[in-house]
Every structure is written in structure tokens, then in C-alpha cells.
């Protein structure tokens, strides 16, 4: 029988100590890890529960931002008054994911590190470079409807499935971690890696990292934000494409903008090209379209997912239009 040991440390130092072991997997709500253990994709010898480490608080930061503990449940993130008031895009993104039951279990740390839903990754009888480096990527020519159009490589086109991370990426969040060597803050911008030749290495986390919290800087003054997600069914489905948008318009021009795309890339994709084109430009639909088109020039769609280019373009334009409209209305009133 394949045995594993379940450990439930009560303090962080002990957890960090335990984490420095290649046979350890940290356990959040277990909604992804346990499933992957059942199907043989993950085979840890030790499960170290991170939910009794006192990492379950949401605190206001001096700058008006928030610090959200790694084991705060997704439901509690979405329903927190401060989150809803300051970062509605985050609340909306979390609520757009999974189901009520799953969100009640899922933690912030686990959500960030959930694995791809690529069907080949989840089937140990098939090749997958992410699961078994060098074995191949049948998705390149196989079932790739759900997979990446941006940032993929010939070795892997898996998408990162999180909705929450997309919002956090648009909000310039950072991840606080601890290892044996001490504490560290990693901007979400540097947290995930593109697959390149090593799709098995998904993040830049140092060895033995415990995620402790996420920091979200103060909301940008007067900026509006929202989240749009497209999926096949009305709930309980992963994003075919999603966008988290933050926008402030001043004097009819884009004064601040952040756009992150979900469901289209191996990581929450910050649309830097589009943002650069938009800064200072008139807040008009034509400009929105041109900006996202420029971003999507880099897209490398596969036969089954070419529609995602159209989808991403349309939802970005929709979000920007809505946010610009809301800003205008806000100014008028």
C-alpha cells in the first residue's frame, strides 16, 4: 500500500522545517492535491497541513491595502467587506470559480498553486512533459480546446486554472513566503514561470517554501475594477477566457490601467503590451480594440482553441468599455 503520513504542525517554524523535504507536500484545503493523489499524479510521503498555523487572518495594511493569510478560505476572501469594497475584482473572481463547497475548503495558498486541468496532465497513462519531463506533449496536436494561446511552448500549452490569481495579478499583489532561510516577498509578476523547456517547474518559489500571505497594495485612487469570465456552463466551470480589469480615466484619457487574462496562458497573463498602448490614450472603444489586438499578436492558437483569440479580444473590450462608462458616469454624478 502506498502510505503517506499526515502532519498537523501548530506553528510556522515547525511547518517550515518540515517543508524542506522533497517528499513533503503542503496541504491547504486539499481540493486539488487530494484529487491528484487519488489519480496518482501526486505521490507525497508526507502531507503537512498548513491550516492550523494562524495564517487565517485578513488584515488592513498601513497603506490601505490588505494582507490575506495563506489559509484564509476562498469563501472568506470573497465575502470580506474590505475586499469587496477595495478590490471588488478579487471578490468577483473568487466567486466566479469552482463551487460553494469547494470555495469553503480551498485556501488562498492552495488556489495560487493549484495545478493545470489539462487532461493529459491528469492521466498518468499518457505522456505529459509537466508530469513526466521528456515524455512528450500530446496536447499540441490533441485535445487543446481549453489550453493556452499565449506563453505556451512546444513542450507544454497547459493553462493555469485559477480565477483568483488573475485578479491578484491585475492588483499587483505579492506573495509572502517563508523558508528555512527566512522570509521573502515575491511579486506575483515573478511568481509563476512560463513552461519553456521545463514545464515541470511552474514557479520561482525557493525550495521548501511555505506561502504565508498575499499582500495587495492600496487600491489605485478612483480606479474601477471588474472581472469577466467566460465558461461553457453557468457555474462550476473553468475559464475558457477571463479578464480582470482595473481602469481610471481622467479627462477622457486612460490615467491608470491594469489588465490580466485568465484561461489563455500558463500563468495569469498581464497584458503589458495593451496597457502600454492604452496609457494616456483616449478612453475610446477603438483604442481598446487596437490595444488588445496588439497584445494578441503574440497569440499562437491551436486548431481547437483559435476561438480564444476572439473571445479574449471581446471580453477585454467589453470590460474596458464598462469600466470607462462607469468612470464617466461616476464623474457625472
Amino acid at each position: 500500500m502506498r502510505k503517506f503520513e499526515y502532519l498537523r504542525p501548530e506553528d510556522r517554524a515547525r511547518a517550515v522545517d518540515l517543508a524542506a523535504n522533497p517528499d513533503v507536500k503542503l496541504l491547504g484545503g486539499g481540493t486539488n492535491l487530494i484529487d491528484l493523489m487519488k489519480i496518482g499524479v501526486e505521490t507525497p510521503e508526507f502531507l503537512v497541513d498548513t491550516t492550523r498555523l494562524g495564517l487565517d487572518e485578513i488584515e488592513s495594511r498601513a497603506d490601505g491595502g490588505l494582507r490575506i493569510g495563506a489559509s484564509v478560505r476562498n469563501t472568506d476572501v470573497a465575502s470580506d467587506d474590505r475586499v469587496r469594497e477595495r478590490f471588488p475584482v478579487l471578490s468577483a473572481a473568487v466567486l466566479a470559480g469552482a463551487s460553494g463547497q469547494l470555495r469553503n475548503m480551498a485556501t488562498v495558498g492552495g488556489n495560487l498553486l493549484q495545478r493545470t486541468r489539462c487532461a493529459y496532465f491528469q492521466d498518468v497513462t499518457k505522456a505529459c512533459n509537466k508530469r513526466k519531463p521528456g515524455s512528450g506533449c500530446p496536447a499540441q496536436t490533441g485535445a487543446n480546446r481549453e489550453l493556452a494561446i499565449l506563453g505556451g511552448s512546444e513542450h507544454c500549452i497547459a493553462t493555469h486554472p485559477s480565477d483568483m490569481a488573475v485578479a491578484l495579478r491585475a492588483l499587483d499583489a505579492s506573495v509572502l513566503i517563508e523558508t528555512e532561510k527566512g522570509a521573502e516577498t515575491i511579486p506575483l509578476a515573478d511568481f509563476y514561470r512560463l513552461p519553456g523547456e521545463r514545464p515541470d517547474i511552474e514557479t520561482n518559489l525557493p525550495y521548501g517554501s511555505l506561502i504565508v500571505a498575499i499582500d495587495i497594495p492600496a487600491p489605485r485612487n478612483g480606479a474601477r475594477s471588474s472581472y469577466v469570465k467566460v465558461r461553457d456552463r453557468a457555474s462550476f466551470g473553468f475559464a475558457l477566457a477571463s479578464v480582470a480589469g482595473v481602469l481610471r480615466v481622467a479627462d477622457g484619457r486612460v490615467a491608470e490601467v491594469a489588465l490580466a487574462l485568465g484561461g489563455v496562458a500558463p500563468l495569469p497573463w498581464r497584458a503589458r503590451v495593451a496597457e502600454a498602448q492604452l496609457m494616456g490614450a483616449p478612453a475610446e472603444p477603438d483604442r481598446f480594440r487596437a490595444a488588445i489586438d496588439a497584445e494578441l499578436e503574440a497569440a499562437q492558437p491551436r486548431p481547437e482553441n483559435a476561438f480564444k483569440v476572439t473571445l479574449a479580444r471581446r471580453i477585454v473590450v467589453r470590460v474596458l468599455n464598462e469600466l470607462a462608462g462607469a468612470t464617466r458616469e461616476g464623474e457625472a454624478s
Partner: protein, 704 residues
């Protein structure tokens, strides 16, 4: 004790049939007190885990069974080289481990029996298997040169039919449509997987099993293990859904019984969700060419429905996809054909409304296209072509109330407010459209036995080996028995799901209530007569009457008997993203007498909801490289959630068809899924102007 107790009809008992009686076993289920197959406590039970092939076609050369047998806790490793031979190794999916041939990927090629579930699972994972693998073919194509014509289609219909000059009629028709519709493979996936516990005492076998019919499971096990049927007892008291997947025995029960015999201890096994997509059956994908021609008045002059579908190299399963087209609409010139391809795939099997469900998707889509071509309202077109006698045989229907369903549905739905022109109705960025389709399903009955017994305490036991797979059969049969006995349902104890009771057919073909209810009625009538003769006195060990409806059913005049329905859908399509949501679904059905409005409604809206999944979400994705189905869990194989079915309404017309059975009921289990997908596809066309002819209708098909 001396003397006699008195039993008999109480006066003034309100009719139980038609009452909203709540599900009898509901409280037990809610409290977790209703045992399902896997949950029976059995001393010394061991666990079996099946190992699936990782090649798609070939032979098993060797395994590391000898090494695995040494793993602590492992009792046995079975594969074709050491598995006991079954008495009838008849080249079906049930010939588990009987040969070295691999006919499809994930077919059972070995099994581990161990002291615990965990040991069995891990040992199964460790087992190494060497194969000789061969090139395979798994993809269904209409131009495949290896298509063949089966001798019949399920269960016993002519493969092809042809009347008149079809090609001539289609050529000279004023209006015509000629399109090909495609449906993918679907896996039934009841909530409870196939599960069994097998216990042998010498040559006596007891099996706790999740199935749609314990009597047929017993018969098959007796054959396979070479023991008399009387030596096999199958118990299936509560079953967590089947949708056809448990209609006939599947490999799980055979493997469990085989393993128990080999290790000499009880064995239990439940299919994993992944295995639910492997070896327990599924609905075949179909490719259907439908041609319709109509004259200037919209009267159909030619109908042609040509079906291509698959079966396996193990067994022939020929889904009766075009059979409903034979009786649905009038028209002098008619053709239906079925062609199969034997692929290196698992054998398809029964799934809710086999034949009618995929077939009526194609036919009812084509009828909608004909309505558009001829400029007729789709309700009117159907009314003009609604035959009063069977168009193939000329025989009168026992009852045919399609027109009433169409008219009532049209009124309840507000059909006449629609815009026939597509892309006209909007609500913000949503395009709104409406569509309809007709439904039909045969009304049949099988012979059944049943026993009714009066007890001395004034209560009644009614016993037969019927199956309640979550439908409410136990409750409906209690109502039927109560009325036949003339007593209140509360004094009737209905017992089913056990071969110790009178032999009964399976829950399938929407025949459960008709078949079992018929026998229950006769048994209760018989008992009532006996009680009357005995002046109500009941002997110490009760008074029992057992009946068999075989003769009565065989004697009956044969006439075409079908249930009908009309389903109306309103869909909303986001013009930008192509997201499709079914805002409203309304069905009106002519299904004979309703025994219990609550459980009947659940069946109808359940079928309709499954139809929403079929229209928009469900598809088993063929992995062309590996040859199996790629999405094999319920996160990847999407079905409708509650949010996808905000408003599903089922209505029925007042119908009682005394020709079909003494109850006048036609069965409600399957008709709900028939036509739904077409109604939604037709509504999607009305909303968007895009006609999608391959399911599911996914957003990329609308935004291109």
C-alpha cells in the same frame, strides 16, 4: 393463537393512484440508513481493483502477477492466464479475463484482490503488464469503407426500411432539406457507480449489486458460473441511478463473483469514476443524414434518415437511432438505414432513450429546417404531418396526442409571440430565441410476476424483484397496490430489489411501472378475490397470491403504442462571447395516466435537464492518439448545473390509454430527454441565425 384476523378493503379510501405520495424510502436515504450495494456489512470482506489496458488493440503477453502476489495484503492477482474459465465465454464484455486479446484501451486485463481497498489499488498500480500492440481504429467516419449492415437493430427492429420512391419524391418536392447531424459519445454516469459484493457458500452465490434489474443479473451470473439460477441471490434494494448503464450486467459484478470464488472470501468492488468512462458502456456517437421533402402545402412527401454509428470488435450493439423516424410523421415515401463500424472501442450500450434520443435530435432539427424552408410555423408543420395511423403499417395508434401537446405547449409557453426571423429578439447584449421539438417514446410492457400477501395484522406485503433506481418505483407500486387492494398506501409494504421475491423484468425502456404495475395489479386483485372468498379471514402465516402476466401480455392484440410530447426552449446567446444559456424549457407530454405527479415530474424534468446537457455540454472526447476517452471525471465531462436550468417545467395532458396496460400509464422515464437537444438547437438558430448540426453546441461554433 387461534381465530382469524380480518383484512379487506376499507371503505371510502381515496384513490392512491394520482396522489402526491412522497417517496417512501426518502427519509432513510436522507439519514444514510438506506444501504447501497457497496455498503452492506459483510464479515471478512476483501477488495478487488481492476486494471485497465494501456494499449488499444493487441494481446497481453505477460504480467508481474507473481511479484505482486508477494506484496503483503495481496491475496490474488487475476489475469487471463490464471482466471477461472466462465461456463459461457461468449465473446461479450462479460467474458472478463477470458482471453489475451485487448479489444480497447482500458479494457480489464487484470485484477488484484487484497485485504484492503488501498492495498488492492496500489498493487494494481504496481502491476506491470507487457503487451503486443497492434495498430487501431477508433474514429467513426461516414465514408469508412468498413461500414457494414447489421442484421437487425436493437432490440429487434429491421435494420433498414424503404417504402415508395424516396429519391424521386425528394427530387420533386417543393421544399427540401438535406443535412448531416452529428452526436458525440456519451457516458451515462449515474451518481452511484457499478458496485458489487459477492459471497459464495459452496455453490451458492449471494451478490449485493447496483443494477437496474436483479432478476436478469441473477440469470446471467448463473449462466456464466454454471450454477442453477436458484443458487444465486442478487440484492439491489437501493440503487443510485442507472440511466441504462446498469440495464444489463456489466463486468464489475462478474469480476467480483469470479474473484470471490478464487480467494474463497467475500469480495467487493466499485468502479472508479475513471472506470465509469471505460468498460461499463456508453452511447454510441452518430452521424445522421436526414433528407426531408414537402409539397407546397408543407405536407411531407419524402423522408430519409441514414445513420452511421459504432460498435466494438467484441460484440455488436446496433442502436436503433432511426426507428422513431419510422412512426413520427406522415409521408408516402420513406427510408431509414443503419450502418455500423466495428472499431477498437468499448461496446456501446443502453443510455436513456437509446435510439430515440440521438435520432430525434437529428429528425427534429431537420423538421425545423424544413419549417424555415417552407415558411411554415414549426408547430403548424408538425400538425400538418401528424398521422393518425402508423405511417409504415397503417395500424391505428393506441393513442396519439402529439397535436394536443403541441397546442397546449404553444399556449403555455407563449409560442405565438416569437419572431420567426432569426436574430430579431434582443435583451441588451443577449440574443434571444425560441425553438421547439417533438418527443416520442414507445409504450411497452414486459411480463412480470408479483406476489401479494395479506398479513394477520391487517397489513399487506407486495413483493417482486422490481428495481427502484431512484425513480420512485417503490412508491408508485405502493400506490398501485393500494388501489388494487382497496386499502390505504400506509398498510401496504412494498418490497423489491431482491431475487428472493417474484421474478420481474429490469427497469428499462420506460417499462418499469407498466410491467411491474400490471403484475402488482393482478396479484392484488387476485388476493382481494381470495380474501372475499375467505370472508376476510387470514391464516396464521398469511394469505398469498402470486401471478405472472406472461400469458395476458402475449395474448394482447399488438398495436403501435407510443407516448408523445412537445418541448419548447428559450435560449439566450451572448452576442460577443457566444455563451449560451437556456432561460426556459417547457415540455408537455402525453404519457397516459400519471401514477404519482411528484415522481413523474422528477423523471420528466430530469430527462429534460439531461437533454440540456446533451445540447450544450456533454461529450466524451475521443483521444485519437491513445484511442480512449480523454475526459474521464465529472470536472472534465461537464453536465448541467442548477444554474444551467433555472426554469424547467413539465406538464402533461389528461390521457389514459387503457389499451397499453390495465393502469393506462405509458411510462415517463425516457421521453423527457427525447427532442430536448433539438428544441435547444432550434432555439439557438432562432436567436443567432447559426445552425449547429454537431453537438454539443459550444460557443466557438457561434462566434466562429
Amino acid at each position: 393463537m387461534t381465530g382469524t384476523a380480518r383484512a379487506g378493503p376499507t371503505t371510502g379510501t381515496p384513490a392512491a393512484i394520482g396522489a402526491r405520495l412522497v417517496r417512501i424510502e426518502g427519509p432513510d436515504k436522507v439519514r444514510g440508513a438506506a444501504p447501497y450495494a457497496y455498503e452492506y456489512p459483510v464479515d471478512g470482506v476483501t477488495y478487488c481493483c481492476a486494471v485497465g489496458s494501456t494499449v488499444t488493440r493487441g494481446r497481453v503477453r505477460s504480467t508481474s502477477a507473481d511479484a505482486i502476489r508477494q506484496v503483503p495484503g495481496v491475496l490474488e492477482v487475476l489475469w487471463h492466464a490464471n482466471a477461472p474459465r466462465l461456463a459461457t465465454a461468449d465473446g461479450s464484455e462479460l467474458a472478463v479475463l477470458q482471453s489475451d486479446r485487448v479489444a480497447y484501451r482500458r479494457q480489464i486485463v487484470a485484477a488484484v484482490v487484497a485485504e484492503s481497498f488501498e492495498i488492492a489499488t496500489e498493487a494494481a498500480r504496481m502491476l506491470e503488464i507487457e503487451y503486443d500492440d497492434e495498430p487501431f481504429a477508433v474514429e467513426l467516419r461516414a465514408d469508412d469503407p468498413d461500414l457494414y449492415r447489421p442484421d437487425k437493430v436493437n432490440p429487434n427492429f429491421a435494420t433498414d426500411t424503404e417504402t415508395g420512391d424516396v429519391d424521386g419524391a425528394l427530387r420533386s418536392a417543393t421544399y427540401g432539406v438535406d443535412h448531416t447531424y452529428r452526436t458525440p459519445a456519451y457516458h451515462n454516469n449515474p451518481m452511484e457507480p457499478h458496485a458489487s459484493i459477492a459471497v459464495w457458500h459452496g455453490d451458492e452465490l449471494t451478490v449485493f449489486d447496483s443494477n437496474q434489474g436483479a432478476s436478469p443479473v441473477r440469470a446471467r451470473l448463473a449462466e456464466l458460473f454454471g450454477v442453477p439460477p436458484g443458487s444465486v441471490r442478487v440484492v439491489a434494494e437501493h440503487v443510485g441511478g442507472g440511466f441504462g448503464a446498469k440495464g444489463t450486467p456489466r463486468p464489475v459484478v462478474v469480476l467480483t463473483a469470479m474473484a470471490a470464488r478464487v480467494v474463497g472470501r467475500p469480495v467487493k468492488m466499485a468502479a472508479t469514476r475513471e472506470q465509469m468512462f471505460a468498460f461499463v458502456g456508453y452511447r454510441t456517437p452518430t452521424i445522421q443524414r436526414v433528407r426531408l421533402g414537402a409539397d407546397a402545402d408543407g405536407r411531407i412527401v419524402g423522408i430519409s434518415h441514414e445513420v452511421v454509428e459504432q460498435t466494438s470488435t467484441i460484440d455488436e450493439f446496433a442502436e436503433q437511432t432511426a426507428v422513431a423516424t419510422r412512426m413520427m410523421y406522415a409521408g408516402a415515401n420513406r427510408r431509414t438505414t443503419h450502418r455500423l463500424r466495428r472499431l477498437d472501442v468499448p461496446t456501446p450500450a443502453w443510455m436513456r432513450a437509446p435510439g430515440e434520443c440521438p435520432g430525434m435530435y437529428a429528425l427534429e432539427s431537420a423538421v425545423d429546417e424544413l419549417a424555415i424552408a417552407s415558411g411554415l410555423d414549426p408547430v403548424e408543420l408538425r400538425l400538418r404531418n401528424d398521422p393518425q395511423t402508423d405511417p409504415e403499417t397503417g395500424a391505428p395508434f393506441t393513442s396519439r396526442n402529439l397535436a394536443a401537446c403541441l397546442r397546449d405547449g404553444s399556449r403555455l409557453f407563449g409560442w405565438t409571440q416569437r419572431h420567426a426571423e432569426p436574430r430579431v429578439q434582443r435583451d441588451g447584449r443577449w440574443l434571444v430565441g425560441t425553438g421547439l421539438a417533438a418527443s416520442t417514446y414507445p409504450a411497452r410492457a414486459r411480463a412480470s410476476k408479483a406476489t401479494a400477501r395479506a398479513r394477520r395484522d391487517g397489513g399487506f406485503d407486495v413483493e417482486l424483484c422490481a428495481a427502484d433506481i431512484g425513480t420512485g418505483a417503490r412508491t408508485a407500486l405502493t400506490q398501485i397496490a393500494a388501489d388494487a387492494l382497496g386499502v390505504a398506501p400506509a398498510v401496504v409494504r412494498l418490497r423489491l430489489g431482491d431475487t428472493n421475491f417474484s421474478e420481474a423484468p429490469l427497469a428499462g425502456g420506460s417499462m418499469g411501472t407498466s410491467s411491474w404495475g400490471w403484475a402488482v395489479t393482478r396479484a392484488c386483485e387476485g388476493l382481494r378475490a381470495r380474501l372475499a372468498e375467505a370472508d376476510g379471514s387470514v391464516p396464521v402465516d398469511g394469505l398469498a397470491v402470486e401471478v405472472d402476466t406472461k400469458e395476458e401480455i402475449e395474448r394482447r392484440e399488438q398495436r403501435p403504442a407510443h407516448a408523445f410530447g412537445a418541448q419548447f426552449a428559450e435560449v439566450r446567446v451572448d452576442e460577443g462571447t457566444g455563451e449560451i444559456r437556456v432561460a426556459r424549457l417547457l415540455g408537455v407530454f402525453a404519457v397516459g395516466r400519471i401514477v404519482n405527479p411528484m415522481t413523474a415530474r422528477s423523471q420528466l424534468i430530469g430527462g429534460m435537464t439531461m437533454g440540456v446537457s446533451m445540447a450544450l455540454l456533454e461529450a466524451s472526447l475521443l483521444d485519437r492518439e491513445y484511442g480512449d476517452y480523454l475526459n474521464h471525471d465529472l470536472a472534465q465531462y461537464e453536465i448541467a448545473t442548477c444554474a444551467d436550468v433555472p426554469r424547467v417545467e413539465a406538464h402533461w395532458i389528461d390521457e389514459r390509454d387503457d389499451f397499453v396496460n390495465p393502469l393506462g400509464a405509458k411510462g415517463v422515464g425516457e421521453i423527457g430527454i427525447v427532442g430536448t437537444a433539438a428544441a435547444i438547437a432550434n432555439a439557438t438558430y432562432n436567436a443567432t441565425g447559426v445552425r449547429v448540426r454537431d453537438l454539443p453546441i459550444r460557443l466557438e461554433k457561434l462566434i466562429g
